[in-house]
Amino acid sequence: MTPLLTVQNLQIRAGARTLVTGVDLALNEGEFLAVIGESGSGKSLTSMACCGLLPFELTAHGAIRFAQHDVLALTPSEWRSLRRNGVAAIFQDPMSSLNPLMTVSAQLAEAINGTTRLDLASADAARNLLREVGLHDTERMLNAYSYQLSGGQQQRVLIAMALATNPRLLIADEPTTALDASTQAQVIELLQRLRQQRGMAILMVTHDLSIVRSVADTIAVFHHGRCVEQGKASAVITHPQHVYTRALVGASMQGVDLPLRKPAQAPHTVLHARNVAFRYPNAVRMALQGVKLSLKAGECLGIVGESGSGKSTLAKILVGAMQADSGTVEVCGLSPRDRWRSTRRNLAFARKCQYIFQDTTGSLNPSHTVARTLQEALLRSGDTITPTDRLSELMTEVGLDPELLSRRPDGLSGGQRQRVVIARALAVNPEVLVCDEPVSALDAHLQKQIVNLLVRLLGSRRMAMVFIGHDLALMSKFCDRLAVMDQGVIVEQGVTADMLGAPQSTALQTLMDHSFSDRAGSARKRALLSCAA
C-alpha cells in the first residue's frame, strides 16, 4: 500500500537559517501519526508545510506527496481545491482560530458551500456536523459567536469545519494544548472516534506524549529540527532508542519526583475564606458561591477543577486583585479588601501574600531587565540588606544564573521567565503564595522542574501555598489537601490521600478518570487507593 502522505528529506528555511532538516515521514490511509517534541523542535512547521500553511517568510525544500499530488509544487488554486477536498487542519488556540466577528453558522457555511449563508441543504449538513462533533444544542451553536463558547466547544466547531470537506487527512497542530485536562481527553476521544467512523488519517502535533499514547498508531519524535526517532507507537514507548525520547517517555511515566517535606509544627491558620460569593457583571450564573477555605502555615492546598469552574476568580479574590460581592477573606490577619483602601495597606498586604500567574510573558514588563524587576520588588520588602547582594541570592534560590540579571524577558525561555516571576514573589518574604496554574503553559520537563522548585521553597521558606491547577496527577503528588471546584462551588475538600481514595463528587471522579488515564497513572491511582485503605 502506498502511503497517503509521504515526506522525504524535508528542509524548512527562514532565509539562511535552517529550522527543520532531513525529515522523513509516512502516513497511511486511516492511520494516526503523532508528532512529538518540545517547542521549537520543528514539529509544527513540518505539519504546516504538509498543508501549505507555512508563514510566507519560510520556504520548504525536499518532497511532500499527498495521494497523487506533489504538495510543494502546487499552485495557489490547486491548493484551494485540495483543501476543499482532501486535507483539513485544526490549530492550537481555538479562540483565536475563529473569527470573532462572525457567527458559527457563517464560518461553517464557508467550509460547506464557500458562502457565508447556510441554504436549506447546507443547514442540514451543518447541523449534522455539529452533532457529529458532540455539539447537540445545534440552534444555539449556529447563532453563537466564538466568545460565547467554551474552549472545548470552540475546538469542536473548528473540527466540524474541518470535517465539512470530507478530508482524507486531518492535520491537528497541538489541538488540545489550550484546553483543560478533561476537555483535552474529550477532544482526543472525539478525534479518535471520527477517525474510525470516517476512515481519515490524522497527523497530530503535540508536546504531550501522555495524551496520544493510547490513540496513536505511529509516533515521530522531533528534537532540534530533526526527526530523531519514529516507529510503531508501542515500540517507541516501550523501547525508546534516542536519548531525548527516553527522557520524554521517562517524564510522562514517572511524573515528578519531589523532595519530602515535613509537616509544620503547631500550625496556625494563615488564610481563611468564608462564604465568598462573586458574580461577574451581566453574568447569569454566580462565578463563586459559598466558598469556604482555610490554609495553615507551611501547608500546600491544591484547588482543582475544569476550566470555568471559578478557580482563577477565587485566586484573584484571595489576593485582592478583585473584590468579592460578599463573604470574608483574611490573610495573616489582613483583609484583601484593604488593598483598595490605601497604598500603605496595599503594601502591608503584598508583604504577606504574593501571586504567581500562568502567563509568564504578560506578567513581566518587557522593557525592564530581570535586575530591575527584582529590585523593584526588593525595595518594597523593607529589607535591610542592600538589594544588590540580595539579587544574586534570589536568583540562585530559584535556580537561575545571576548573569541573567541583565536580560530582558524576551531573552529568557518560558521556564526561566516563570522562575523570575517566582523570585519576584519571594523577594518580599511572603507567608502565603497563591499560584494560578503556574505550570500549565510549560512542557512536561519544565513542569517537573518548576513544581520541584516550588515544593523545595515551601520547605525551606516555611510559607504556605495555594496551588491552582487542573492536573490532578501532578497535584496529588505534593498538595497536602485538595479542594475540588465545580461551577463556582467547592464540592469537596480534604486531605489528598483520603479524597483520592474515596472520591465523593462526580467532578473529582471525572478529573481522576482523565488525569490517571494512562497506564502509569492507573498504577499510581491503585497505589494511592491501597495506601488510603
Binding site: C51, R84, F91, L98, N99, L101
Partner: protein, 307 residues
C-alpha cells in the same frame, strides 16, 4: 429586548444632550471673559462715543450680570431661538444655515477622499509589505502629525494662487479638501496598515485559508471587517482633528463656512454668533462620535454583550 433598545437609545440621547449643553455653558462664560465687548471695538474704531457706548450696552443687554445674561440666553435657546447677531442684526440660526453647506462639503469631501486614500495606501502597503507603499504610509503619517494644515494652506495659496495663478486665492474648495484629506489619510493609513499586518497573522485567517477560501474572500470576509473595527474606534479622534482643520482652512481660504463665520465672530466679540458656531462644532463632534460607537457595536458582537 425592545425595552432594552429603547432605554439604551434614551440614555445615549440624554448623554449626547448633556455634553452639548455642558459645552454651550462653558463657551458662554469663556467668550465673555475675554476683555472687551463689541461696543469697545466700536469705540476703538471711533464709531461710538462713551455715552453712546453705555446706551448701546444696555440695548444689547450687555450691562446685565453675566448670570442674568445666561438666564436670558438659555431661556431663548431652549425655545429654539439662538438670538440675533450683534453686528449684522440678522438671525444667527439663518446665518449658520447659510454657512453650513460650505462646511459640510469641505468636511465630507475631506473625510471621504482621506479615508479612501488612507485605506487604499494601507492595503497596498500590506499587499507589498517590503515595498515603497509602506514608506508612503510612514511619510504620510509623519506629514499629518508634523505639518499643521494652516501652514500648508498658506504655502499652497502662495504657490498655486499667487505664483502659478492656477486657482483663485479665496473661495475655492479644491486645495483645502486635498490638504485636509492628506491629513485624514495620514492618520488612518498607519494604524490601519499595522492592524492589517497583524490580522493576516491571526489564527482565524489561517483557518480561513485551511478551509480553501480564495485570497479575495479571506480579505473581505475576515481581514477587512476586523481591521475596520479598529479604524472606527479611531474615527472620533480623526473627526475631531478634521473639524479643527476645517476651521483653519475656512479662514485661510476665505470660505464662508461655519469656521470662518465663528472666527470673524470671535474677533468682533459677536457673542451669539460665537455661541452658535462653537455649539455647532460640538454637536458635529458628539454626533460623529456616537455614529462611530454605533458602527463599532454593529460590527463587533463582543462589544454588544458588554452593555
Amino acid at each position: 429586548m425592545n425595552t432594552a433598545i429603547v432605554t439604551r437609545s434614551l440614555v445615549v440621547t440624554a448623554r449626547m444632550l448633556l455634553s452639548i449643553v455642558a459645552i454651550a455653558f462653558v463657551v458662554f462664560f469663556l467668550i465673555r471673559s475675554i476683555p472687551g465687548d463689541i461696543t469697545d471695538l466700536y469705540v476703538a474704531s471711533g464709531d461710538l462715543s462713551a455715552s453712546q457706548q453705555e446706551r448701546m450696552r444696555s440695548e444689547l443687554g450687555l450691562d446685565a450680570h453675566v448670570f442674568e445674561q445666561f438666564q436670558v440666553w438659555s431661556t431663548q435657546a431652549m425655545q429654539g431661538d439662538l438670538g440675533k447677531s450683534l453686528r449684522f442684526h440678522t438671525s444667527v440660526a439663518a446665518m449658520l444655515l447659510d454657512a453650513l453647506p460650505h462646511t459640510l462639503t469641505l468636511t465630507a469631501g475631506a473625510l471621504i477622499t482621506g479615508l479612501s486614500l488612507g485605506g487604499l495606501l494601507a492595503l497596498l502597503a500590506c499587499a507589498f509589505p517590503t515595498g515603497r507603499w509602506r514608506r508612503g504610509v510612514e511619510l504620510l503619517n509623519v506629514w499629518s502629525i508634523a505639518m499643521p494644515s494652516f501652514c500648508i494652506g498658506i504655502i499652497a495659496v502662495l504657490v498655486f494662487s499667487i505664483w502659478l495663478q492656477w486657482l483663485p486665492i479665496r473661495g475655492q474648495l479644491l486645495t483645502p479638501i486635498i490638504i485636509l484629506s492628506l491629513d485624514v489619510a495620514g492618520q488612518v493609513a498607519k494604524p490601519l496598515y499595522e492592524e492589517l499586518m497583524d490580522i493576516t497573522r491571526r489564527g482565524f485567517v489561517r483557518t480561513a485559508r485551511a478551509k480553501g477560501l480564495g485570497n479575495w474572500q479571506i480579505v473581505y470576509r475576515h481581514i477587512l471587517p476586523n481591521a475596520a473595527a479598529v479604524v472606527i474606534s479611531l474615527a472620533g479622534v480623526i473627526f475631531g482633528n478634521l473639524i479643527g482643520g476645517t476651521l483653519t482652512m475656512e479662514i485661510v481660504f476665505g470660505l464662508n463656512g461655519v469656521g470662518g463665520l465663528t472666527f470673524t465672530a470671535i474677533q468682533g466679540r459677536d457673542y451669539p454668533l460665537v455661541q452658535a458656531g462653537i455649539t455647532w462644532l460640538a454637536v458635529a463632534v458628539v454626533i460623529m462620535n456616537q455614529l462611530a460607537r454605533m458602527a463599532s457595536l454593529w460590527i463587533d458582537p463582543r462589544l454588544r454583550s458588554i452593555k
